[in-house]
Symmetry: C2
Subunit: 234 residues, 2 copies
DNA sequence: CAAACTCAAAAGTACTACTTATTCAAGATG
DNA sequence: CATCTTGAATAAGTAGTACTTTTGAGTTTG
């Protein structure tokens, strides 16, 4: 508990650049700053070290590393960045990642999904279409996330599957900012149905192409969002 | 030092399935097993916990989590898997990841690379072609890695850039297994030149397409490697 | 038989003592 | 005067002990 508090506090400061790279923290100083014991301070530093956010050198202290050294795939770091002032930029980065992965994931899902998964994907597509027609945005988002989540795990690649949280975050972030069109775009819905159909048919090329169309569309949306929404912070 | 030894030992055991999911380890037991102090044992467990390899519950112990919960992007976990019996499968997974990312990275590189980067990419392409003609496989690999590394960092997406180690590993693994053709394929070399040219011209579509051709080719190679090389273990 | 209560086991936290590596500087040596 | 060596100070690393908190499991009681 104590551990997590301190980790979040210190990690967020580093992730948001409040502690610039090169900054040296002495472990004793950390204990005072957070009113934590040596044990807690040390374990927090160990964790930050494994995330490559810091490096420790004897007789020197804990050194904040360059962002390029960080493990940007660590869920904690992603969280800290999304909750900080750089949220729009972080969302853009994550969206680019997803736009790269998902078409490929769709391809593998078409090749490897179980019959049951293919069925569920189709069902989710149908529900997606229905909630879109009903202009029920929040339910739409829910099914949208479920759709992408299922697709990623059906790809049978653990590294793809792990990105479902990222995708959920990107999709939510888009809706949350109120910058999404008042109702889901019919083309996007049609493309989701196309992906589901292609996966059901076991047609990797078609699945990949349809998914690519989806993410390209999303990429353009988010790019616009960052362009004029970058200053709003939270 | 001590810390890292124990972490590697225990982490590798978990990563390779020697300690099945659900296994419960008591921290005192760990101290004995590795002859480590309480401090070291605790910090190791903390780190494994942040990697989502384990979860700790009071009055129970340290529980090994399901592979699906692991943070598969952690460089340490990747290392443990590559060094273990599941190396071929791990290489296949990583190669799929790279095959998803690199075409997209090429696109962004074409849009965002600095003039200097565009120049260096072209130069690397040339050197690649030369070493290919000279049948100098090890130098070829070196330039190949440098080429992909530069492209990824030129994409200006930290999450893409971070995968350069993964790409290097995949490329090396392919050559290392001696399953690569005795000389680099002319088509592959031509495609690298095409990527460099497209990036130089700032043509994202062309860059993406050429890179996609490269990774698709690699994907097929590795799939074959896994099919008949899966049993050779280390 | 179910619900609450008690007890003990194991992780979490705190603190102290000791070890080791590294930087910085003073002094010796060429 | 420069360079190399040596040594002391410092801060992180490691070890070990003591105490706290949570919670699973067994037991008692209505």
């Amino acid at each position: 508990m104590r551990h997590e508090q301190v980790l979040d506090a210190l990690g967020a400061q580093i992730a948001n650049g409040a502690l610039a790279p090169g900054t040296v923290l002495r472990s004793e100083e950390l204990q005072e700053r957070f009113g934590a014991s040596r044990t807690v301070a040390r374990e927090v530093v160990r964790v930050l070290e494994t995330m490559q956010l810091t490096s420790s050198k004897r007789r020197v202290g804990v050194i904040v590393r360059e962002p390029s050294a960080w493990n940007h795939y660590d869920p904690r770091l992603i969280r800290w960045q999304l909750d900080g002032p750089a949220r729009p930029a972080a969302l853009a980065t994550l969206n680019e990642l997803r736009s790269a992965i998902e078409p490929c994931a769709a391809r593998f899902a078409a090749l490897r999904a179980t019959p049951e998964e293919r069925g569920r994907l189709g069902a989710l597509g149908e529900r997606l279409a229905r909630t879109a027609r009903a202009r029920d945005l929040s339910t739409f988002l829910e099914f949208d996330i479920a759709f992408h989540d299922l697709l990623l795990s059906a790809s049978r690649n653990p590294m793809f599957a792990q990105l479902s949280e990222v995708v959920a975050e990107v999709l939510t972030g888009r809706t949350g900012h109120g910058l999404m069109p008042p109702e889901p775009q019919p083309e996007a819905v049609a493309l989701h149905l196309e992906v589901a159909a292609a996966v059901a048919d076991g047609d990797p090329d078609r699945a990949e192409r349809a998914m690519r169309d989806i993410v390209v569309q999303a990429r353009e949306e988010i790019a616009a969002l960052v362009a004029d929404g970058g200053a709003e912070g939270e």
